[in-house]
Symmetry: none
Subunit: 307 residues, 2 copies
């Protein structure tokens, strides 16, 4: 996309014209009936190259205030079933209760399309030799562009969304809402990005990173309590292994929030801190179990283990 096209594209959004109108449906990449999520591949109309888009449609969760309004409103109404004390019906509320969340990735690369496509999953053990010989090679070859991370760290983007920042270059970090957070306290889903740029993932951590991890844990707990009133015993702090990008980050979510990501990838931050405090080289010695999807590049490197 050229600069002028990007500008035009952004203006459309700002002017309130539905961005979706310029895309046409190609196919469903993935869907989850449990979480009411559908991800499609679409094409930008009147555009010959670089015209792929990934569009994620998701129904948002209810807020308690919504429910109060739904009781009071005179919404359109359709009865489905009445049986004794059990009634099932539909209501059709208007703005703002009819909102659907949309994420549009455009232009989308082949990696984005793969990332959002449904794929078979496998458990694989990664020894430290596997990490050095296979995973590291994969990271070097296929690392996604991290501009969006550096944009945040340098306050070029999303600075108004920052919940808390510790600017220290060694032990500092930025805490901000995850894109997926709907803003409800009980669904808190936030992301911590560290200022250090050379920690790829869990595997890079040693005992020397304990001050960073403890600093970010304590300050995020405090910030989340001060800003949102969420006490630490209600906060799930964890990393993913493998992560979806290789700049060290930590997820903070509310205990009630169930992430649509695979929970098999979650490793509690408390476990990481415990391991490093007892055994500073834990992550340079351990075999880690991970889940690999067939559409991930790692799959090709690891499939010999189970074929």
């Amino acid at each position: 996309m050229s600069e002028s096209e990007i500008k035009k594209f952004k203006l459309e959004g700002k002017e309130g014209v539905n961005l979706l109108n310029s895309f046409e449906f190609v196919k469903v990449l993935n869907e989850n009936n449990l979480s009411k999520l559908m991800i499609i591949l679409a094409l930008k109309k009147n555009q010959s190259e670089n015209n792929n888009a990934v569009i994620i449609f998701e129904k948002p969760h209810f807020a308690q205030d919504d429910i109060n309004s739904l009781l009071a409103l005179n919404s359109q109404f359709e009865m489905d079933i009445q049986n004794d004390i059990y009634n099932k019906f539909k209501i059709f509320p208007l703005y703002p209760y009819n909102n659907i969340q949309v994420q549009l990735i455009y232009p989308a690369t082949e990696q984005h399309i793969q990332k959002y496509s449904v794929q078979e999953m496998f458990f694989v053990s990664e020894t430290i030799e596997d990490y050095n010989n296979l995973t590291l090679k994969f990271i070097e070859q296929t690392q996604l562009n991290l501009n969006w991370v550096y944009n945040i760290l340098e306050h070029k983007k999303e600075s108004e969304r920052i919940i808390f920042e510790d600017p220290d270059p060694v032990n500092g970090f930025i805490l901000l809402p995850d894109m997926k957070w709907d803003g409800q306290v009980d669904n808190l889903y936030a992301l911590v990005i560290v200022h250090q740029k050379d920690i790829l993932s869990l595997r890079s951590l040693t005992g020397q990173h304990l001050p960073l991890l403890e600093n970010l844990r304590n300050k995020c707990y405090t910030a989340l309590e001060e800003k949102f009133g969420i006490k630490r015993e209600k906060v799930r702090a964890y990393v993913h292994y493998q992560p979806s990008f290789y700049h060290f980050h930590v997820h903070f979510s509310h205990i009630k929030y169930q992430s649509p990501a695979m929970p098999d990838r979650n490793i509690p931050l408390s476990q990481v801190i415990n391991n490093l405090a007892l055994f500073p080289d834990y992550y340079q010695k351990s075999t880690l179990e991970m889940v690999i999807r067939k559409n991930e590049k790692l799959y090709d490197l690891y499939k010999h283990k189970f074929e």
Copy 2:
């Protein structure tokens, strides 16, 4: 509710008046952000007794045709975030794309209310001192009757359900379907109970139990592949901490199966084996994070940590 009241109530629905208007919100009984479900307790207005209602609100999943329409419609539109190729916004489509499913149980009994209510959860760190001073005391005082476990181990009950047995008294075990398994291969949910009776939980394990753990892992992988055709890379092998009973057991489930139990309690068997192989006294030294529900006895022992 009298016959005439029931008749009037049903008529309201049939006439298209929103049934919800006659109820007022009392409290949220339960909610699930992942499935966009909220369950509330409500009261029928102008009704003095038998006036409880349980109301379940749920967002419906998308159909593929809906998505085509959402692309073509000129829905109301609100931009949230633009960062590089990533865009997040809301759309507000009208009938029929704004439908919400409602189930109304009225009049609801106390049992209905209990059935749909949730218990509060907390994350708590258990140090080894906490384990020795609090959790062990709890286990001694409140250990549930384990006769059902011994009945299985002694072939007095459920022997026809056994998938595989290794009768060795030290490294042996019984593998059988979990009560919750529906029999579908993709939903496999099985339980391994060890013959040794003195291993209470993860906390009791040391390096000397590695032969037991490796024996049961390898033989269960083989048995599940031979009996059901499930390859080991499709099998989630894990323990719970805290477990629901204190006789050491391991869960085996299909990678596609999402247990309704809390995934925060899952600890992969591969992680346990790794930890014990590197550090034989790992579970006698480590601080373990656990989830406690308010209705569990452990809650009373640990609530001082966050009150």
